[in-house]
C-alpha cells in the first residue's frame, strides 16, 4: 500500500519550525546585542547640554525620562539641577519644565502640558513645557527650626533630603512614638490661595520592616482642614488645600498609626502658594 503523498502545505509546514528557530535566534540576538545602540551616548548628551545651556532660563526645572537614565543625564546637565529642585514637593512653582527624554519616554511632571519649544540630538529629545508658576509665600519644611514641636517622638524633626517612594524629597522628617502624634506649629505665617502638602514614609528598609501606615493632619488657626493616611507602598502623596490669603497659624500633626509603628519616619513638605 502506497503512503499518501504529503501536500505542499504540509511539507512547508514541516520546514517552518527550523526556519522559525533560526529567525528567532537571529532576531533575539540582534535585539539583545544591539540594544545599546538605542541609548544615546555621551556625545549626544554633550551636544544636548550645550544647546540646553543656551536655552534654559533661570528658575526653569529639568526632568529626565525615563527615570533610569537620570544618572547619565545628570552627568552632563546635573550642575543645572539644584538639590532642592531635585527634591521638590512638586513642579508647580516652576515657570517651565524642560523634559530630557530618550526612547520616547515621558516624565509625569509634563503630563497635560503642551511644549512650546523642542530639539532633538542623537536620540535625546528636549522639550520645554511652560506653565503658570505658583508663587510660594511660605515654604514650611526649611523653617522647621522655627516650629513649636509637641508630642512624644523618637526622633526629629529635621530638615532632610529623604528617599520616599524611591524619589528624593526635601522634607521635614519626624518619628512619632508608636501610635503617637507629633505636632509642628508654625505661628503667624503668610498663606496664599492654596496650601500644597506632600507626605510619605521615608527609608525603604524601615518601610519593609515596619508595615504600619503614617498619618498627617493639617490645621489652620485651630481648625483641621485635611487628614490622610499613607502606607508603605504609597510613595509621596500630595494634597492641595484651598486657603484664604493672609496670615495664620498652621499645625501639622504627624502620627505613627498603631503600636507596631516603631521608627516610622514621617516626612512632609508644604508650600503656601498664591
Amino acid at each position: 500500500m502506497r503512503r499518501p503523498v504529503p501536500s505542499l502545505t504540509s511539507r512547508l509546514a514541516r520546514l517552518a519550525p527550523a526556519l522559525a528557530l533560526v529567525a528567532i535566534a537571529a532576531w533575539g540576538t540582534c535585539r539583545a546585542v544591539g540594544a545599546g545602540a538605542g541609548v544615546p551616548g555621551d556625545r549626544a548628551w554633550a551636544a544636548v547640554s550645550q544647546r540646553l545651556r543656551a536655552e534654559l532660563r533661570p528658575g526653569e526645572l529639568i526632568v529626565v525620562a525615563p527615570a533610569w537614565n537620570e544618572p547619565t543625564a545628570y552627568l552632563h546637565v546635573g550642575d543645572l539641577v539644584a538639590v532642592d529642585a531635585a527634591g521638590r514637593l512638586d513642579a508647580a512653582r516652576y515657570p517651565a519644565i524642560w523634559e530630557l527624554s530618550i526612547r520616547g519616554a515621558r516624565a509625569p511632571e509634563t503630563r497635560g502640558l503642551r511644549a512650546d519649544r523642542s530639539f532633538a540630538i542623537g536620540g535625546v529629545t528636549a522639550r520645554r513645557y511652560p506653565q503658570a508658576a505658583r508663587t510660594v509665600v511660605t515654604d514650611f519644611a526649611p523653617q522647621i527650626a522655627t516650629a513649636a514641636v509637641g508630642g512624644a517622638r523618637a526622633g526629629g524633626p529635621t530638615y532632610v533630603l529623604a528617599e520616599i517612594g524611591f524619589a528624593p524629597h526635601r522634607c521635614a522628617q519626624v518619628t512619632p512614638a508608636p501610635d503617637g502624634e507629633v505636632t509642628l506649629t508654625f505661628a503667624d505665617v503668610a498663606l496664599g490661595a492654596e496650601l500644597a502638602v506632600g507626605a510619605g514614609l521615608a527609608d525603604v528598609f524601615t518601610r519593609r520592616d515596619v508595615r504600619a501606615p503614617g498619618e498627617l493632619a493639617v490645621a489652620i488657626d485651630g481648625f483641621e482642614v485635611a487628614r490622610w493616611r499613607f502606607g508603605v507602598d504609597d510613595g509621596w502623596v500630595r494634597r492641595t488645600i484651598v486657603t484664604r490669603p493672609g496670615r495664620g497659624t498652621v499645625t501639622f500633626t504627624a502620627r505613627a498609626v498603631g503600636l507596631k509603628a516603631t521608627g516610622r519616619l514621617i516626612c512632609f513638605a508644604a508650600e503656601a502658594r498664591s
Binding site: R14, R31, T72, Y74, L161
Partner: protein, 567 residues
Amino acid sequence: MIGRWRVRAIGLVLFVVTLATALAAQEDVGIARDETVYMGAGDGYARWWLDVAHGKRGATSEKGITAAWGGPGPTDHNREHPPFMKTLFGLSHKLLHDGLGVSRVTAYRAPSALMHAILILIVFAWVAAAWGVAEAVIAALLTLCLPRALFHAGLACFDGPIATLWVATLYCYWRSLARWSWAIVAGVVWGLALATKHNALLLPFAIAPHFAWVVARQAYATTAPGAARGLRALGWGLVRRWYVPVALIALGPLTLIAVWPWLWFDTVPHVRAWLQFHLHHVHYNFEYLGDNWNHPPFPWHVAIVTTLLTVPAGTLAAAAIGVLARARGWWRSRGELADGAALLLGLSLAASMGPFLLGSTPIFGAEKHWEAAIPTVCIAAGLGAVWAARAAAAALGELWAGARHRLAPTLATVAVGGALIAGAAAETAHAHPYALSSYNGLAGGAPGGADLGMNRQFWGYAARGALPFLRTQAPLAGAPPRPVYTHDATPAWGAYARDRLLAPGLPDAGHEDAGVARSQLAIVIHERHFRRHDFMIWQSYGTVQPVFVLRFDGVPIVSVYRRPAPR
C-alpha cells in the same frame, strides 16, 4: 551511530571548554558581596580539615569544631549555609594560590568553574544517553551559553554549584533505575547538594513522584487485575527497587553530616537552626516590572517572567518546540514515557521554580534561586532544535530531490543548532562581565529590561568597573587619602586594594551618613532601593551631578560622585 569513545571525547571537550571559559570569564567579574563571606569561612573550614589531617589535638572536640564551624550567633562562621562549596573554596585557595601562585580570587572561584564544567558534562551525558548525541551537544552548549548561568559559574558562591549538584543527583538517580550501584552515587551526590545549599531539600519533590510513576508503571503489567491494581503495582515496584529510596534517604543526610562537622554534635538543634534561618530569612529588595518588592505577597509569575526575559530567545523558542514535540510523541504513544527522563526533567523544573510561585518564599533574589531549572529548558531546546532540523530535512527531501542526501539531517541539525548556539554565545559574550544587568531580545536587551522596570543587578560586583576611573581620582603620593563611600561594595574593597585593582589612597569611608560625611568620593551601585545612597550623597555633597557613570548598553550601573571643592 557514534561510538562510545567518540561520545566520551565530545564530553571531555565540552568539559574542558566550559572549565576554561568559566575560569577566563570570572577574571573580569567584580567581587560579589556574599563571596567575601564565603571565602573567609572557606579558609577557616579548609584550615580545620588540614589540622585534622595533620592530627592537631582538640580539633575534633566540640570546642575545636565550634571555633571553626559555629558559635552562639546564627551567622557565626557562616553556619547558616552548609559548608561543602566553602570548604572547596578554601582548599582551592590553599592549593592554587598558596601553592601554585594562581591569583587569589581565581583560586577561590575555581571550584565553582569546575562544577559548571561538570554540569555541562552531565547535561551532555544524560541527553546523549536518553535521546542522542546531536541533541546532547546542542543542549550542553546552550547550557553553557546562558549569560547569567555563566556569570554565577565564576563566583565563589553556591548558585552555580547547587544547579550542578541538583542535576547530578537527578542524573545519578535516573541511572539507578537501570543499575543499582548508581543509587549509592545518587545518595552521596544528593548529600553533597544538601551540603551546598538548602534548595536540595526540594529534590525529593522531583524524585519521589517520578520514582512512584516509573516503578508503578513498570510493575503494572505484571500485577494481577483487581482492586487497587495501581497501588499494588506501586508496592511491587517499591519492593523491587527498594535500594533507590533507601540509598537516598540514608546516604544523603549521612553525607551532609560527614562534610559538615558542625552537625557532629547537637545535630538536631543545629539542623533546625540552619533551616529556621532560611525559613525566616529577611526579604531582599528586588525590582520587578516597575515595582520594588521586599515583602510578601510577591507576584506569582516572577520566576517565569524573569526566565523568559533572561534566557536567550532562540533557546526559549527551541525549548518550546522541544516540549511540544515530546508532548506529541507522548500523546501518540498513549502515554509511553520510555525512560521517563523527560518527566523527571519536567518535575525538576517544577520543584526548582515551584516555591517561587507561592508568592511567600523568603528571599527574593533573581534567576539564581531557580538556576537548577534552567538545564531543563536547555535540554528541551536541544530536543526541539534536532526535531525541527530533522523535520526540515525530511520536508526538503520531499520538495527537492537534490536534498535527499543521507547527510541532509546532519547538515540541517548543524544549521539550526549552530544558529541557536551562535546567537546564545553572542548574547553571553556581550553580557560579560555585567550579566546581571543583561536581558534577552524579548525584553529588548538591557535598556529594554530597564524600561520594563526589571532588576538592574545585585551583590555590588559592578563596582569593579568604576575602579579604573577612581584610579584617576587617587591622591598623589604623600597627599592625604581620599576616602570613598562604597556602600554595597564595602566587603570587596579590601580585596580590590589587596589585588591592586584599587589605587592606593582610596580607603573605604565607612557606612551610611557618617561614611558619606567622611568621604571625598562616593559610588552608587544602581538598584532601585539604592537610590537612597544617591540622595544621601546629594545632600552631603550639595550636587546631584556624578563625575562618572558606568553603563552597560547605555544603562547606568554605577555612578561616581566627587565632593566639590569648598568655595
